[in-house]
């Protein structure tokens, strides 16, 4: 079953018709960790805010758990955990008060999970939220988003402000939730973390989805990153179809290649080489390609 179904979802803001997102369609299947990447302003948050009916679409629909986001909003949100990108706080509230307030919206008893999560994230429940650092506020956001063990977890730039150790704990936590059966929608502009976490990824650019792919095929079927080192290399030999971004520096040649790898091997064997590396490009590099 598709957990999220997005159909031609479009959002323009205000009278000026400023672009939010245009004709976005995709599905997220049950049990997936679905990456949603793009630079700031591409429409990631707009899409998420439409899911939560914080804003309403200009046209198109979004369904979560097979139900319309607007019509069944409160019912759907019973099973959604959302970590907003911005930290928030009610003035003068203690961490525990806020978390209890958050828990009070759900039908189940969340107090045990609340304390477990606070332990994992090393969150001091007795402090006032106003006094917390940005990273600690972010932890409050994480705990309030997960304490009701939601079926769908929506993450909007979740790791900003967390130190590397906490990031790892956080990712472990998300993986655990995923293994428990939760579907994860993971929006980020940091490709490395998406690469580590996700099964599939959608790339959004200027409000439109430009590609949805399996992470593995995305890396395999696409380009190879090739680096050849050696003296007297003739880089002109590599100016063939399928070669991109050819660079010559410090006695080595770097480029991306897409095509028959045998052809490339023959070309390389013609050269007197000191070293050859052929590797998968990082998502970052693929991503740059889409944004060229």
């Amino acid at each position: 079953m598709s957990i999220i179904e997005v159909n031609h979802l479009t959002k323009y803001y205000g009278k000026a018709k400023a672009r939010g997102i245009v004709d976005v369609s995709f599905n997220v299947e049950e049990g997936e960790i679905f990456g949603f990447i793009g630079p700031n302003g591409a429409g990631k948050s707009t899409t998420i805010r439409l899911f939560l009916s914080l804003i309403y679409p200009s046209s198109g629909t979004a369904k979560i758990f097979g139900k319309d986001c607007i019509q069944f909003g409160p019912e759907i949100r019973q099973e959604i955990g959302y970590l907003p990108s911005e930290v928030f706080y009610y003035e003068g509230m203690k961490v525990l008060d806020l978390l209890n307030y958050s828990a009070s919206f759900y039908k189940k008893d969340c107090s045990k999970r609340l304390h477990e999560l606070a332990d994992i994230m090393e969150l001091d429940l007795t402090r006032r939220i106003d006094d917390l650092s940005y990273g600690n506020k972010k932890k409050v956001g994480i705990v309030q988003g997960l304490l009701h063990q939601p079926k769908l977890i929506i993450l909007d730039e979740p790791t900003s402000g967390l130190d590397p150790l906490m990031q790892r704990k956080f990712f472990d936590l998300i993986r655990e939730e995923n293994e428990r059966g939760a579907t994860v929608f993971f929006s980020s502009h940091i490709l490395g973390e998406v690469q580590k976490m996700c099964n599939r990824v959608a790339i959004i650019k200027e409000g439109s989805i430009i590609n949805i792919q399996d992470i593995k095929t995305m890396q395999q079927d696409n380009y190879k990153k090739i680096r050849i080192a050696g003296n007297g290399l003739d880089e002109t030999r590599f100016e063939v179809a399928g070669v991109n971004n050819l660079e010559h520096e410090n006695g080595s040649i770097n480029f991306f290649f897409k095509g028959d790898i045998n052809l490339m091997m023959r070309l390389i064997s013609e050269q007197e080489v000191a070293d050859v590396t052929i590797e998968e490009p990082t998502l970052e590099e693929i991503f740059m390609h889409y944004y060229e």
């Binding site: 804003i55 409160p74 919206f105």
Partner: protein
């Protein structure tokens, strides 16, 4: 119920502050009543020598400062200004504070209808205003009976004044909410609530000075003019109906606007 409790707690301190302020104001003003009333003759003569426009501006025409309620109505006017600011504050902040402090993302992502949120918030604000109202009631009775110096007053008229307060506040609360929802972003709650409360007061004052009846229609300070209530011993029914009608329209409108509102993050 959880939102109501939360909202109530968030505003409780402000409600207590306003209650104490209003209580001190009434108590202090009434404490000078007996000495004023003793020289009432002199006071009334002094008042008559003042420019008529000034008296109208303060709602003091035909006021008899030597009577308990005549004097009290003067104190009551200041109390009205305070309570108008309180109610406007609650109104303008009610929904907008969630957006400016980014808690809207927290609250609206919870499994709860927007109408439920607005109802809970309105009821919480109403409860907080009632705390202030009850304080004003108690302090008014205590202060009047402490300082009346053997002079009598009509309890029914005093009750009319006191009952009017909450209706008066509901006007500012609901109009505040409606205006805040018509705006894309509320930058400063205090500025807006001061503007609304003092604006309405000034309209009432200038309306009196200019003799323009049309302004009576807009401002609650005219709908529930203390001097007029004390002088006539009754409300001006059409104006009260008008006041309540505006409140009802503002509340219904607020629900419609909030239901359709696109909630943005404050940047």
């Amino acid at each position: 119920m959880n939102i109501y409790k939360h909202e109530f707690k968030m505003n409780l301190r402000s409600a207590i502050t306003w209650s104490v302020s209003a209580a001190i104001l009434i108590f202090l003003m009434m404490s000078i009543f007996s000495s004023m009333a003793a020289d009432a003759e002199l006071l009334n003569r002094t008042l008559q020598q003042m420019p008529q426009e000034l008296l109208t501006a303060f709602g003091m025409t035909n006021i008899d400062m030597s009577t308990v309620l005549g004097f009290y109505s003067f104190a009551f006017l200041f109390c009205q200004v305070c309570l108008a600011i309180q109610a406007s504050n609650y109104g303008f902040a009610l929904v907008s504070i969630e957006e400016s402090e980014m808690t809207a993302d927290f609250l609206l992502a919870k499994p709860v209808k927007r109408a439920t949120i607005l109802t809970s918030k309105l009821l919480a604000a109403l409860t907080n205003m009632l705390i202030t109202n009850v304080t004003v009631w108690v302090v008014s009775f205590v202060a009047i009976n402490t300082f009346r110096d053997g002079r009598t007053y009509d309890t029914n008229t005093l009750l009319l004044l006191l009952v009017s307060l909450i209706i008066f506040q509901l006007f500012f609360l609901s109009v505040g909410v409606a205006i805040s929802l018509l705006m894309k972003r509320v930058r400063s709650v205090t500025t807006l609530s001061m503007a609304l409360a003092f604006g309405m007061y000034v309209l009432s004052a200038f309306g009196g000075m200019l003799g323009k009846d049309s302004l009576d229609l807009i401002t609650p300070f005219k709908h529930f003019e203390p001097n007029a209530i004390v002088t006539n011993g009754t409300y001006d029914t059409p104006l009260v109906v008008l006041n309540v009608a505006v409140t009802v329209v503002a509340i219904v409108g607020s629900y419609m606007l909030y239901e359709k509102r696109n909630v943005h993050t404050a940047v």
